[in-house]
């Protein structure tokens, strides 16, 4: 059963109860407990296609609650807690959604060392996945989101989760946090895109989340094989330029991009090595989403049939 399949009242009752609302998010199950209706409304919009989990092992037990004391009501705040621990300072109550997303990122990056976790967007088409490793501000979220809106399977905009045991990519197609100008860019790019409320004045400026594409969410237990690594960089006005990247250089770029490369030890090295060996590697400079997607479509169709 999906989140959108039950009434908001029932959803709120579940989330408000002691057993919480358990949602399947990629390979993880998250138990969310909260009384905050406004937050839950945004959550249920952005996560509408995710499955409600009933009989699986829950990985993260997250509560979103108001603090005790006067900040419960006056300039109300919200606290993210996992298993009773509160790793962050409280946020203003109306920023509960970005706090939840940020907190869940933190939980995954801290614990899920059964994966090599790349700081990367991931999309897939025809069984071939492209990894977009990049630093914040390079446009990887926008690019991955745009591809997701043009029929590619969207696996993540933030975490390239490479399974330690076999190097396959585990999808985690959560809503995409669009920042500042990107919000308008995506809205113009796809007028039918569902974007949640604006959250002004976060650490990263104004943030709004793009609802996860339905097909991607439905296929989120289906792992993908990496076929290309593209290091994207958005440059205003730039023409779309792909530059082939030497493997040794790509290795260094990819390994230093991972959140937990050192923690993963030998496994981390082997996974990066395999990816680099089996994938074509490029640097990409772009500004025009439509143009870059057209070229990626052509490249992915050719990929594997002959070497580019």
């Amino acid at each position: 059963m999906k989140i959108k399949d039950i009434s908001f009242n029932l959803l709120a009752r579940k989330a408000g109860g002691s057993r919480g609302l358990c949602v399947s998010i990629g390979a993880f199950v998250v138990r969310l407990r909260t009384q905050e209706k406004a937050f839950l409304r945004t959550f249920s919009l952005l996560y509408q296609d995710f499955q409600i989990s009933t009989d699986e092992l829950v990985d993260f037990h997250i509560d979103m609650r108001r603090p005790s004391g006067y900040r419960r009501w006056l300039k109300a705040q919200v606290i993210f807690s996992i298993d009773g621990h509160t790793p962050f300072e409280p946020f203003p109550l109306d920023h509960a959604m970005p706090l939840f997303e940020w907190g869940l990122n933190w939980c995954i990056a801290r614990r899920a060392h059964q994966y090599l976790i790349l700081h990367a967007g991931v999309v897939e088409k025809q069984g071939k996945a492209i990894i977009f490793p990049a630093l914040p501000g390079s446009g990887k979220s926008t690019l991955s989101a745009a591809l997701g809106l043009r029929g590619w399977r969207f696996l993540s905009d933030e975490f390239g989760m490479v399974r330690g045991s076999d190097g396959l990519l585990q999808p985690i197609p959560r809503p995409v946090p669009l920042k500042n100008e990107s919000i308008q860019v995506i809205q113009d790019f796809s007028p039918s895109a569902v974007i949640g409320p604006l959250f002004p004045k976060t650490r990263k400026g104004t943030v709004a989340h793009l609802q996860s594409p339905r097909i991607s969410v439905e296929q989120s237990r289906q792992l993908a094989k990496p076929a290309m690594i593209i290091f994207p960089l958005y440059q205003s006005g730039a023409e779309t330029t792909f530059k082939s990247l030497a493997k040794h250089y790509a290795f260094l770029k990819l390994s230093s991009n991972a959140f937990n490369y050192e923690v993963m030890g030998l496994t981390g090295f082997e996974r990066v090595r395999d990816i680099i060996n089996s994938c074509a590697c490029y640097n990409l400079i772009y500004s025009d989403l439509d143009d870059v997607i057209k070229q990626l479509d052509a490249m992915i169709t050719q990929e594997g049939s002959d070497d580019l």
């Binding site: 092992l57 298993d83 899920a112 923690v263």
Partner: protein
């Protein structure tokens, strides 16, 4: 069937006492077990225990993923720690001072079974008090840095504590705590560190030493039942003790007698009694019954019963969804006890007062 706190405690104890029984767990019980082990930093340790002691137990895929994730981190920390020990040895080679590695570092150097899957935080070493200044200077000259402390904290460490302010190499993450004895100078017990140093054992693979088996157990006992505040993450220390005792008593037949004699030499009878009792009672350590009865550290009836009630409450993690008032109260009482044992009141009260006042002062940057 849903579990409340008592059930959660039993689930956790049972997993360490009788891992074979885990075969029968249902998924929601695994989930609770993993949450409880996580609050005592024992996820990887439990995974390894099952892997070694009963590989026939079939783990659900997601349980395995939790074990894997935790074990990866443990391996990484272990590697960092071994490297840090290597660097310390190199940096101090010229000094010709005995370096005794304590706790987790020692378990690794000795390849003890409990070192597999044990999450390590920092390195603790023991050196002769006469040499500590030379050791510190030597490390500071070679890239280690002292934690930035204000004057009062410096004074606190240097005058009252059993260690100097922690050091950390500027390019690395592992903290090095250098001790000159194993209890604060202000505490009621004053073990003579020279006895520990004299009995320390040399190693083949590194120039440093480790404590003798008896001293290793006694140090861990004192740490848990004398010096610690006894919170949920201290349950791990009891598991350590259980593993140490179980291992050493198999290694030598007269281990228990030696341990008892050594505890008397160092006046550690009381902490040893608690170790033996709770390790036996909660984790099923094969402690000889007559030893428990004749143990000189056995408290009188009333304090004994009180501790038998308080310790399991405070030490074992609660059900994460159902925190209990009596647990908080037990932890509070034991917190007071640990501070009382740590410092006489005429030092403790001004210290707590200063600490509280510092917290209230605005931070000046």
């Amino acid at each position: 069937m849903t579990y409340r706190s008592q059930g959660a405690r039993q689930l956790l104890l049972n997993a360490f006492k009788n891992p074979k029984s885990l075969q029968q767990l249902e998924l929601h019980e695994w989930e609770l077990l993993i949450r409880c082990t996580r609050s005592s930093k024992l996820v990887a340790a439990l995974g390894k225990k099952i892997e070694f002691n009963c590989p026939e137990v079939v783990l659900p895929e997601k349980v395995m993923a939790h074990f894997q994730g935790a074990q990866q981190l443990v391996e990484y920390r272990k590697q960092l720690l071994i490297w840090e020990l290597n660097r310390l040895n190199k940096a101090l080679a010229a000094l010709d001072v005995d370096i005794v590695v304590l706790k987790g570092g020692a378990y690794i150097l000795l390849d003890l079974p409990l070192s597999v899957g044990r999450l390590l935080a920092d390195i603790d070493i023991l050196v002769d008090k006469k040499e500590i200044e030379r050791v510190e200077k030597h490390l500071l000259a070679q890239g280690w840095q002292s934690a930035k402390l204000d004057e009062y904290d410096q004074h606190y460490y240097r005058t009252w504590m059993h260690e100097i302010p922690p050091l950390r190499h500027q390019y690395r993450f592992i903290e090095v705590d250098i001790h000159h004895t194993i209890l604060p100078l202000t505490s009621r017990l004053h073990p003579d560190p020279e006895r520990l140093l004299n009995d320390a054992i040399s190693l083949d693979k590194m120039a440093c030493k480790v404590l003798s088996p008896c001293d290793m157990v006694l140090h861990s006992s004192v740490h848990l039942f004398y010096d610690a505040e006894l919170k949920a993450d201290d349950f791990r220390d009891l598991v350590d003790l259980h593993e140490l005792l179980s291992f050493f008593c198999q290694q030598s037949a007269d281990f228990w007698t030696k341990l008892e004699a050594r505890s008397e030499e160092l006046s550690f009878q009381r902490p040893l009694y608690y170790t033996l009792y709770f390790s036996w009672q909660l984790l099923g350590t094969p402690v000889p019954n007559e030893l428990l009865i004749r143990c000189k550290g056995r408290p009188l009836y009333l304090p004994r019963k009180l501790m038998e009630y308080l310790i399991p409450l405070a030490l074992l993690p609660e059900h994460p969804d159902y925190p209990e008032k009596k647990v908080a109260f037990a932890r509070w009482l034991l917190y007071i006890r640990s501070h009382y044992l740590r410092m006489p009141l005429h030092l403790l009260l001004p210290h707590l007062f200063k600490k509280a006042r510092k917290r209230l002062e605005p931070v000046v940057t």
